[in-house]
Symmetry: C2
Subunit: 219 residues, 2 copies
């Protein structure tokens, strides 16, 4: 059967990066379609009518929404190469727990850093450092969150690394000095071709956010 | 091996109800420990230090947090009886997508109905009806969300049914007349012993929320 895999995505999305990395880890060939988030395509609106958000993975015409569910689907559909989730049910549940924390806490605090001012921004900066330290402590002395091999939680978090420059700049923080082990982990992940190819340059994201802030009249 | 299963829970929690139903569907015996949410036990704080929330499922001393991950874990650990998730990867991803929508949208709108006033409450009431209609349309003419058999999405949503009285009362809405097929689905689910035993009486929740609102000086 000929597989048709399409990814509706946006270059700076840390969620899209997850799916790009997972597809690369599994050596799945796909068509990448860049979306204009301020003028969404009719295909995106049709494939994800509830959230209207990227990334959407379309496999043989059928849409899959939400990056973490895409990772699980990719892992179950192409199980041969590089398993992403552990096979043990308890370890699987723990991996999902940490990825969920990344979605609920890292993303929320990170976004508030560059979209708010004053006290709210300061609070968001503190929250971000706190949750990154919690994640660093979960990583401990392991090479990857998935113990010895790069996997689901690593993929869930690594895209945010390309946004750390934005968080440092607007939050007046220095993530590298606060969380040195996490930065060492990120650099380790970046040695993988799947990650290096999926993550844009940090400076490109900083420039993009500076322009967004001007449009939102935040600077 | 002797299994030790403990559930830290709170009677009115629609999340706790999920786990109670799943354990009953699998005929797993467990110790139920009611938590005082305004004076949490040291066991809860120790088992779920990041969120400090119920339900927590403790299986042979190891904690599992977040109800939807508990359902998956229960399904994977006790696979013999009543499968909760479909075996097909695409159907699994879709089931997770709908359960995630229930968490992101039904819960948020429902909570805003009884914790806010004026325009915000009106907006929340509209949002709740809208998302319930979307779910009703996803259900279509099927008996259950999991097609012919009661499963993961049904379990994710049914606990909210015991809160519909609260939403009707404080949101000035009538869910039954807006979403008759969804109510018929809920009554079908309630015929299962696992559901009937896990859901408290609607009046008990309405009384509890009326008392909460007095304490929060909302009435």
């Amino acid at each position: 059967m000929t597989e048709e895999v399409i990814l509706l995505d946006f270059w700076a999305s840390m969620y899209g990066m997850r799916t790009r990395i997972a597809l690369a880890e599994k050596r799945v060939k796909y068509h990448y379609r860049e979306e204009d988030l301020w003028n969404k395509s009719s295909l995106l609106l049709q494939m994800n009518p509830v959230h209207k958000k990227i990334p959407v993975l379309i496999h043989n015409g059928k849409p899959l929404c939400e990056s973490l569910f895409q990772l699980e689907y990719i892992d179950e559909t192409w199980p041969e190469e590089n398993p992403l989730l552990p096979s043990d049910p308890y370890k699987r549940a723990r991996a999902k727990f940490w990825a969920d924390i990344i979605d609920k806490k890292v993303n929320v605090a990170g976004r508030r850093i560059w979209t708010t001012k004053g006290e709210e921004k300061e609070e968001a900066s503190k929250e971000l450092i706190e949750i990154l330290k919690t994640l660093e402590s979960e990583l401990g002395d392991k090479d990857y969150f998935g113990e010895e091999t790069f996997g689901y939680v690593d993929i869930a978090l690594i895209g945010f690394y390309s946004w750390f420059g934005v968080y440092d700049k607007y939050g007046n923080i220095n993530i590298e000095s606060e969380c040195p082990k996490l930065i060492a982990w990120a650099k380790r992940c970046l040695q993988r071709e799947s990650v290096a190819k999926a993550l844009p340059e940090s400076e490109k994201i900083t420039t993009f956010i500076s322009e967004r802030r001007k449009k939102l009249e935040l600077e």
